[in-house]
């Protein structure tokens, strides 16, 4: 069936900010869909509040709305754009939920918009637990058995029918309190009883426990002629009980017989038909009892997902792109397989390699949260690795995680770990369990021992055991098998006896051991191992990801490395530039950098260069095989990158765009003779090295907060005395604000030093004068080495001291004086010139009492580049890439700073609801996972929109609780007065209320939590509070109010923790009470400015 002709305009809903569980995989799917639809001549209307996405680039859609994804806003957009259809299946759960809501409000009917892909009924049937269960029963599929009980008798009856072990879930409690797994009858009695009492309606769900079963996912596609294909099967390394986003997963399934796999495949096809997903992709999860093969359905996502992004990257089959084409009427056989060109998309990819995905966690940022994994997702990113064996892919993945592992290496000595700890770490799923499996095997645990403790399939454990055995072989390889003389003749290696045979070394490489890992095992350095193996002819070979296991010719150069006999790279004679990506997402380094990498690729393609992308993050647009001319799906380590460089010999390598990951490689790459383009490595070092930077700013006569570094407590105190409290302290080896603290006195300084000493390996502690109450300013600029152009000057809303990544900011600045802005400009030009910046430059300033201080200079892409680019309508990263290959700003037509008629606000999005017990206060350590953008004609509107988009919709009426520290008391009066005048009821603690009353603000008084009063918590629980403003001071103030802030997060009540945030909020509320929210596409904004 060819393309439908009745659909001319389609609305696509994006997934909004990056949060845990919904990351840049939806930028990838949305971008693919936009491209696929535009290719077909269909007009695309896009809504997404996340400016850091490629999909919100103005070229990708006909009308792009960077607006909050809410039903109200969507209705406005639909009314304005009048699309023919809505494609709800590409924007994650957010997109799907919002689509459902507007359908339920009748908006789609009112404007005659058809839901394509999956319609309302199908989505309901898949998403509603009861409907889904009924549907599965109707087609004869098995689900975990379950029953509801309202009292103990019913509970016992249910248990008799289901059988132990069971999971007991009380209904209507907060965060699953009172539930648990019962293995014995005693436990059941206890847990069921507590559960019934905890449930507000005395109801518990008793469910057959399938914890420990094997977990699988199938990615299914269907077209409107009912042709169905399975794109990929995925097996979870971690058994059921851990969110699949937090599991190590492997593609294809490894331990299913064909009979088992086909049963699952048949079930998946039956499910997509029964649920009625007409066209497009779905993800279906199954569990399999390893003892008897019983298979149950867990759930279905009637949309593209994180797993479908992974499946697309794992197979080369672009699920989202095909889903978009199917939605407009094509059938699978009418769509070509891009990779083979000659065969159709109606087939099931055959893989001839093993793919391993490993989640990346950030528990170090949330020390109060335990690194225990369960059914709610906690990881913030992931890496994918491809190898010819599971062993190779696993080790490549572990080094690609960039958490300091060189593979399945030893961070601890297994001999020093007690059996007790090993058993605990194996039994209780956690972020480092994979390493404990290794320790256990090293200690002599059998495969079965490990299986009993973990329920991980013995096949995986045996593969880990093979790695352990090979490692032992390397460590103890006898001297007799050495080609000792051969090594002895090489002058740099003369005295060392390696004891490594060529065969063993080759095998180690085939098992995925990195050079560094081998070097550590035989007490050598990485480069020596690299040279040694290269001399022995052990070179990486590159193979293609081609969807067909080499059955057909493949045209798309999508490569992975392995150690085999044949290399398939096709090296062109073109001028080429290699772009190093950012690796797995993490807090502080996410989609913004992927955005920049993609833009570099687009820009250089425009200039006729061949572009080569290297990255290991399967969620991203950069790892789409058609973003760059060539894609190498590889870990971003020195070794892996050099292996590609040895083959490709690029004319230039870009390290500026992928965040800290490639930047960390810059020095070594440079030393290895790699042509790094853009700002020189020397300049990067001058900006990053503290001493050199201090000299630089002194030379340029630019102010910097007083600072020093200390290795001892006395030294630190001396420095503190010299520069005066408060001070900002951090260990020197950390990045992204890790462990950074603001310290007000000698006592807390002592504590910090003691803590840092434990982890810092004798590294010095860096101390800066903390500019209390200063305004922080971010600048993104471009330079061609001669001329510098400022892209954007952004004023932070929260004061200096809150990590710039967590702070909201406004662009252009709204309170800075012209003089201050001029000074900022002047400093930017000076620094850019001195560092001979070629490309992007980001500078952070602090402004206090009209004095401008420079805090740091980053001669690279920053987190704010996409935000500024969207606000300006100027693609900064693209221009920067062109400057890096020698183009000039003048030549490109960018010489003047752009003036804007609209105001843009960036707000950060924080993951606190995922980490129970973690305080939500902002500080120098970055904690946000994503960002949103609000655009409007005034600051108030832009800020208000940004708050809605960030999920903190500000109330326009109701009750506000205010409790602030003494320093803020003067400023808060003004805020409270305004709220009061707008009709809000004010509630405050005694101290604050006294100030209010004396200013004629009627205030209700509640007791302090710290003094045992829980009234305020009750108000939150009952949903009677609409806004909280709480700026605590000192340790005690912070801990006293922590229960309140946590409760507010759990109940979704906006909680503002800075006085500046409160002022901005009031401004927003005030504006919105006066005017209606209107929507405008960025294409319109660009045209107007």
């Amino acid at each position: 069936m060819p393309k439908r002709t009745d659909i001319k305009k389609i609305l696509i809903i994006g997934s909004g900010p990056i949060v845990i569980g919904q990351a840049c995989e939806f930028d990838y799917s949305g971008t693919q869909a936009c491209k696929a639809l535009k290719e077909e001549g269909i007009k695309v209307v896009l809504v997404n509040s996340n400016p850091a996405t490629i999909m919100t680039d103005p070229e990708l859609a006909d009308a792009t709305y960077i607006e909050p994804i809410t039903p109200e806003i969507l209705e406005k957009i639909i009314a304005k754009e009048k699309p023919d259809a809505l494609l709800p299946t590409l924007g994650g759960q957010t997109g799907l939920n919002t689509a459902i809501k507007i359908a339920e409000r009748g908006v789609l009917d009112k404007y005659g918009v058809e839901m394509i892909g999956a319609d309302y009924e199908a989505i309901k049937k898949a998403e509603d637990r009861e409907c889904f269960k009924k549907a599965m029963e109707a087609i004869g599929l098995d689900l975990p058995r379950s029953a509801l009980a309202f009292n103990m008798n019913e509970a016992r009856e249910a248990l008799a029918a289901i059988g132990l072990p069971v999971i007991i879930r009380p209904s209507f409690t907060l965060g699953g309190t009172g539930g648990g797994i019962a293995v014995t009858e005693d436990e059941f009695e206890k847990i069921a009883d507590v559960g019934l009492r905890n449930s507000m309606i005395s109801e518990i769900l008793i469910e057959e426990s399938i914890v420990g079963w094997k977990e699988y996912e199938l990615e299914v596609m269907r077209d409107n002629k009912d042709n169905v294909v399975i794109v990929c099967s995925i097996e979870n390394f971690d058994p059921l009980g851990i969110h699949t986003g937090d599991s190590i997963t492997v593609a294809p399934a490894q331990t299913l017989t064909d009979k088992e796999y086909q049963k699952m495949r048949d079930a998946a096809i039956a499910i997509i038909r029964e649920i009625g997903v007409e066209t497009g992709g779905s993800n279906i999860q199954f569990a399999l009892n390893p003892r008897d093969g019983r298979m149950v359905v867990i759930e279905m996502n009637p949309r593209v997902s994180r797993s479908s992004a992974l499946a697309s990257k794992a197979t080369g089959f672009p699920i989202a792109k095909i889903a978009a084409k199917l939605a407009i009427g094509y059938t699978l056989d009418e769509i070509r397989n891009d990779i083979t060109k000659e065969t159709p998309a109606c087939f099931e990819p055959a893989i001839d390699y093993c793919v391993v995905k490993i989640p990346r966690f950030t528990f170090e940022k949330f020390p109060e949260a335990k690194d225990i994994l369960g059914i709610s997702m906690k990881s913030v990113g992931e890496t994918m690795a491809i190898g010819r064996t599971f062993k190779e892919a696993l080790q490549k993945g572990l080094r690609g995680l960039e958490i300091g592992h060189t593979g399945l290496d030893d961070k601890s000595d297994y001999k020093e770990i007690s059996d007790e700890k090993i058993k605990l770490r194996l039994r209780e799923p956690n972020a480092s369990r994979i390493f404990y499996i290794k320790y256990a095997l090293q200690k002599g645990y059998s495969i079965d021992d490990v299986f009993q403790l973990t329920s991980i399939d013995p096949w995986f454990i045996d593969n880990i055991k093979q790695i352990v055995e090979l490692e032992a072989e390397i460590v103890r390889s006898p001297q007799s098998i050495v080609h000792r003389q051969k090594i002895a003749t090489k002058k740099n290696l003369s005295t060392i006896d390696y004891g490594l045979s060529t065969a063993l070394l080759r095998r180690a490489k085939q098992y995925g051991f990195s050079d560094r890992q081998i070097a550590d095992l035989i007490n050598l350095d990485e480069l020596s191992v690299r040279n040694l193996r290269k001399r022995e002819g052990i070179e990486s070979t590159f193979k293609l990801v081609d969807t067909c296991a080499a059955e057909f010719e493949a045209y798309t150069p999508y490569y992975y490395s392995t150690y085999e006999t044949e290399d398939e790279t096709r090296i062109s004679g073109k001028k080429k530039i290699m772009i190093l990506g950012g690796g797995p997402n993490r807090i502080g380094q996410g989609i913004e950098f992927d955005y920049c990498c993609c833009h570099a690729s687009f820009a250089l393609k425009e200039l006729g260069y061949e572009t080569i992308m290297v990255n290991s993050n399967p969620e991203t647009v950069s790892t789409d095989y058609d973003t760059s001319d060539k894609l190498y799906f590889e870990p971003l380590t020195f070794e892996d990158v050099m292996n590609i460089i040895d083959k490709e010999r690029p004319n230039g390598v870009i390290v500026q765009f992928g965040g800290q990951t490639p930047l960390n490689l810059a020095k070594r790459l440079k030393e290895a003779g790699v042509p790094i383009i853009g700002t020189s490595v020397k300049s990067i070092d001058r900006a990053e090295n503290r001493d050199k930077f201090a000299r630089l700013v002194r030379k340029l006569k630019i102010n910097q907060p007083a600072n020093g570094s200390a290795v001892s407590g006395e030294e630190a105190e001396k420095i503190a005395k010299r520069i005066g409290y408060p001070i900002l302290v951090r260990p020197s080896y950390v990045l992204g604000g890790r462990a950074m603290k603001i310290v007000y006195d000698n006592v807390s300084l002592g504590e910090f030093i003691k803590e840092a000493k434990d982890t810092s390996r004798e590294q010095p502690i860096l101390i800066d004068k903390f500019l209390e109450g200063a305004i922080e300013v971010d600048v993104d600029a471009l330079s061609d080495g001669e001329q510098t152009l400022i892209g954007g000057i952004m004023e932070h809303i929260e004061e200096a001291g809150v990590h710039s990544g967590d702070s909201a900011c406004v662009f252009p600045p709204h309170t800075l004086s012209d003089d201050v802005i001029d000074t900022i400009r002047e400093y930017t030009y000076k620094l850019s010139k001195e560092l001979k910046v070629k490309g992007l430059l980001n500078i952070q300033f602090a402004v206090k009492n009209d004095t401008v201080y420079v805090l740091e200079v980053n001669p690279r892409a920053s987190r704010t580049v996409p935000f500024v680019s969207k606000a300006l309508g100027v693609p900064l990263a693209k221009i920067a890439a062109k400057l890096m290959v020698g183009r000039k700003l003048r030549e490109l037509g960018y010489t003047k700073e752009k003036r804007l008629n609209h105001i843009s606000v960036k707000e950060s999005v924080l993951p606190f609801s995922k980490f129970s017990g973690v305080d939500i206060l902002l500080g120098p350590e970055m904690k946000s996972t994503g960002e949103v953008m609000g655009i409007g004609s005034s600051f108030g509107i832009a800020f208000y929109k940004a708050q809605i988009a960030a999920g903190q919709a500000l109330p326009v009426k109701g009750k506000v609780f205010i409790s602030v520290k003494n320093d803020d008391k003067r400023d808060i009066v003004f805020v409270a007065k305004k709220l009061y005048d707008m009709g809000f009821e004010i509630i405050a603690t005694k101290g604050t209320s006294k100030v209010f009353r004396s200013n004629n603000i009627e205030t209700e008084v509640v007791g302090k939590i710290g003094e045992g009063d829980s009234e305020i918590l009750e108000l939150i629980k009952k949903g009677e509070l609409n806004l909280i403003i709480n700026t605590p001071s000192g340790q005690k103030g912070q801990s006293d109010m922590k229960p309140m802030r946590n409760s507010a997060v759990m109940h979704g009540i906006p909680c503002i923790t800075t006085i500046q945030g409160a002022q901005a909020a009031v401004n927003g509320i005030e504006t919105i009470l006066k005017s209606d929210l209107s929507v405008k596409s960025i294409q319109e904004y660009i045209e107007e400015s």
Partner: protein, 373 residues
């Protein structure tokens, strides 16, 4: 056991290409045609598929043997593959039904196994140069000698391999509880799953050797005859083609794979050898009547020439979407049809199982007609 302690093994191709690996099966030396299979699961079914007689199978999926070997998932009385080529054979078997490892199984059944091969490179070589003769040896590693011996070995064209796999004498398959049709299966190397499927469709099944004459078959008064799959070149089994010719028009016929090719020849068509054949579980076959596509299991090196049938009373019912080759045919007036792919699946998707239902429908219609006369 680590790799380096294993016996060396070599594959040499007739064009002189040599790959070295380690043995993981029986010791010895054997010549056969080398083909690659792209299925990611189902090695046990593949090993026991009689159609692989005379062939070495290279699995493109690199990790094989993971779930071991169980007694149920066999497709015939014994494995017929001449040699098995993989990247890495699992040293343990992990599945609740598994009773032995793949290594043990190959050794026990005296099948050569070679691992540690760059199977992708070898697959690409076959794709570019075509399926060819090869030798696997664990006893002689002299490359020159091996290449000479391969060159001297017989190829598949015109050879009768059916006689090596067909049953020695007529037998009946376990009877289904409800019997609707009597089906004779002409065993050219039938996969058990064809028989299981027929039984599932309430057929009483008699399996007869490939040499059985048409009158003997008709004497059994079948409601239908199934021409089974089997190894090698259909032109090598002209005696079966003759039998098929005599059966056409007298009884409903359903041909699968080799059975399809033999039917094609019997109807006056031609067959030819494909460059490297279709061996896998992901081939899209389009039903030209309904437009529906089934993901099919395929295993054939020869193919019915789609053009050779254009003037006959035959219509092409299915085509392969990858290369537009003939995947199914049907007589325009007689109850005779066949498919090139494997509707019985095993190993692979069950999408094409509807064809057994079609066979039942054909038999039902035919017997109703017969009864009216």
């Amino acid at each position: 056991m680590s790799l380096n302690k294993k016996m060396n093994a070599v594959i040499a191709l007739e064009d002189g290409t040599v790959f070295k690996g380690k043995s993981f099966g029986a010791a010895g030396e054997r010549c056969a045609e080398i083909v690659f299979n792209t299925s990611m699961t189902g090695y046990q079914e593949i090993l026991t598929d009689p159609s692989y007689k005379g062939q070495f199978v290279l699995m493109t999926y690199p990790l094989i043997g993971n779930y071991g070997i169980n007694p149920e998932d066999v497709e015939s009385r014994e494995p017929f593959v001449e040699g098995f080529i993989v990247k890495e054979c699992s040293r343990i078997a992990s599945n609740w039904r598994s009773q032995e490892t793949l290594r043990e199984y190959l050794k026990k059944n005296k099948i050569l196994g070679i691992e540690g091969i760059d199977t992708r490179a070898l697959t690409r070589h076959i794709r570019l140069k075509g399926a060819m003769k090869a030798v696997i040896s664990t006893v002689d590693t002299n490359e020159k000698n091996l290449v000479e011996r391969v060159k001297a070995s017989p190829g598949l064209i015109g050879r009768d391999l059916v006689k090596k796999v067909t049953c020695g004498q007529t037998y009946t398959w376990p009877q289904p509880p409800e019997k609707q049709f009597k089906v004779v299966v002409l065993d050219c190397g039938v996969k058990f799953n064809i028989l299981r499927e027929l039984a599932e469709h309430s057929c009483e099944i008699t399996v007869v050797p490939a040499t059985t004459k048409s009158d003997e078959i008709l004497k059994l008064k079948p409601d239908g005859v199934l021409l089974s799959n089997g190894p090698g070149d259909p032109e090598g089994v002209s005696y079966v083609v003759e039998t098929v010719k005599e059966l056409i028009g007298k009884v409903p016929i359903f041909g699968i794979c080799l059975g399809h090719q033999m039917l094609g020849l019997a109807l006056g068509g031609r067959t030819y050898k494909l460059k490297f054949g279709h061996h896998g579980a992901n081939h899209p076959a389009k039903n030209l009547k309904t437009g529906r596509i089934a993901i099919t299991v395929q295993n054939h090196g020869f193919c019915v020439d789609i053009n050779s049938l254009s003037k006959k009373d035959v219509e092409v019912t299915h085509i392969n979407l990858n290369d537009n080759t003939c995947e199914g045919l049907k007589h325009k007036s007689l109850p005779v049809f066949s498919v090139q792919f494997h509707p019985e699946a095993s190993a692979g998707p069950n999408d094409a199982k509807y064809l057994f239902h079609e066979f039942m429908k054909t038999m039902r219609k035919h017997s109703a007609k017969k009864n009216r006369h």
